[in-house]
Amino acid sequence: MTATDVEHRAAGPATVAEPAVELRAVSRWYGNVVAVNDISLSLGPGVTGLLGPNGAGKSTLLHMMAGFLEPSAGEVRVLGASAWRRPAMYDHVGLVPEREAVYSFLTGRRFVEAAARLHRLPDAKAAAARAIATVELEGAQDRALGTYSKGMRQRAKVAAALVHEPAVLLLDEPFNGMDPKQRLQMVDLLRRMGAEGRTILFSSHILEEVERLAESVLVIVSGRLAASGNFREIRRLMTDRPHTFTVHSSDDRRLAAALIGEPSTAGVELEHDRLSVRTADFGAFTRALPRLARAAGVRLDEVRPTDESLESVFSYLVRRS
């Protein structure tokens, strides 16, 4: 896998001659700030997660795909043509924006019906009823959106985005504000839609969310595509990266001496009452540590990873790419 020029195809039941979404050397900058840096990728049917820390450029990327932002360089193509200045594209594309605001004065049903009418669907009422049933919002459809919980609003937004049964569905942080039950419902819904052969891309900054839903993943860090492809492979890369642990034990010096002979240990540092251990092999080290401590007669009081933030994981992927 490489950071750029990645040919990525999400898993799915069908293949298409031309990718549903294609980015060719796309960059976007705001003044001196580069938000998206020379990204090339293509997406096909199935569910793909767009993963990255806050401010990584996920929304910029999604908005360029949705035709709401012009690339500073390169080209974004959706369903065979440029996404920029092409409202006709929305016949086959649905967008669920991150912002929570909806027309609070409309009922859920009227909101989804309005979307259907804007798509000039022949039977807007029936299409809206289908979309509302898909997101399981029938019970609340006659209440004003202003009275909805965050999760219900999110489902209403999804219903409005899929009322015309789009081939491509783009969702910006769709799980924000949802409780665990609502998250599960949304995961099921998106999985189902992916299995139907739609191209679904959703952004998230939470690894576990992406893990639950997407087989394929795009990792974006500081505007660059850090990794892309099968989720399990990327997860392994994240797990196998060098780790640093801080260890507190009954005898740090003796434990350090024991660890230095262990092949999975890359470095040991003993400073005052703190023992830092670097390892290049996460799995082997975590298995070896308790064994070595027991053999040396040392009691382990605390083993704490020092660089477990998502940002550090992502940074590693960037450095590696």
Partner: protein, 246 residues
């Protein structure tokens, strides 16, 4: 398109905005009522009413109402992010702008024309007005169209449309446009006055319109059309994220 018009109408007529518009349109009516109560003997009611409708109605109420309505017709949805639910649809941007303009103009015209009608009738006590009130109502409706188009465009150019619009109303329309002959041809108030005077059958010292209708109407239409064309163009390349998002 009907669904855009319905949503725009509901958005524009929020409780707070409606209350504000009602209060604003009552101001000229209240002034006319005070005039009627005072009943000064040495004032010509026709000239006084012409002054009230031209200066307070066309000069202040019309641009302020158009500013509140025109900048919110699309600007409010852009501000809170709901515009995406209209723009992420296969609708030509021209249709969006024209619908928003139509609804915005209708509300602005309704509020300001009703105010002119009530204030004029009240001040003149039902006496023969030589078509003054009708003329001002027609001029107001014409001005509503041009002003709303300008403020709709402004809401697409800047997120501070209300502030810049207020500066425009106060500085340009209120001050500079009345001072020099050259600037009058670029003043919506003067276009509206020109139309009002042409429809009414009053002397030149009642409304004191500096432009003939034959100039005012085409100039106003050109300004409105240019504003619409620019707004459509701006919306075609509209960035929903703002200028510094990531």
């Amino acid at each position: 398109m009907r669904v855009i018009a319905e949503i725009t109408l509901r958005q524009l007529l929020s409780r707070r905005r409606t209350l504000l518009l009602v209060v604003l349109c009552l101001v000229p009516v209240a002034v006319a009522f005070a005039f009627r109560l005072a009943d000064p003997v040495d004032v010509d009611p026709l000239e006084w009413t012409g002054g009230l409708l031209a200066n307070l109605g066309l000069g202040v109420l019309l641009p302020v109402v158009a500013l509140l309505v025109g900048t919110a017709a699309l600007g409010a949805e852009i501000e809170d992010g709901t515009a995406v639910y209209i723009l992420a649809r296969p609708i030509p941007r021209r249709e969006v702008i024209l619908t928003k303009l139509g609804v915005g103009t209708a509300i602005t015209a309704l509020v300001t024309c009703a105010s002119a009608l009530a204030a004029g009738t009240l001040a003149l006590r039902g006496a023969d007005d030589d078509g003054l009130v009708l003329g001002v109502v027609v001029g107001t409706a014409f001005g509503a169209l041009v002003y709303t188009a300008i403020f709709l465009l402004l809401s697409l150019l800047t997120r501070r449309a209300l502030i810049y619009g207020l500066f425009y109303v106060l500085i340009w329309e209120g001050l500079l446009a009345g001072l020099f002959a050259g600037t009058r041809v670029l003043s919506v108030k003067q276009y509206a006055l020109g139309v009002a005077e042409a429809v009414a059958d009053v002397g030149p010292d009642v409304l004191e319109a500096p432009l003939e209708a034959s100039s005012a109407v085409p100039l106003g239409l050109v300004v409105a059309a240019a504003a619409v064309a620019l707004a459509v163009r701006r919306l075609q390349g509209f960035n929903l994220l703002g200028d510094a998002a990531t």
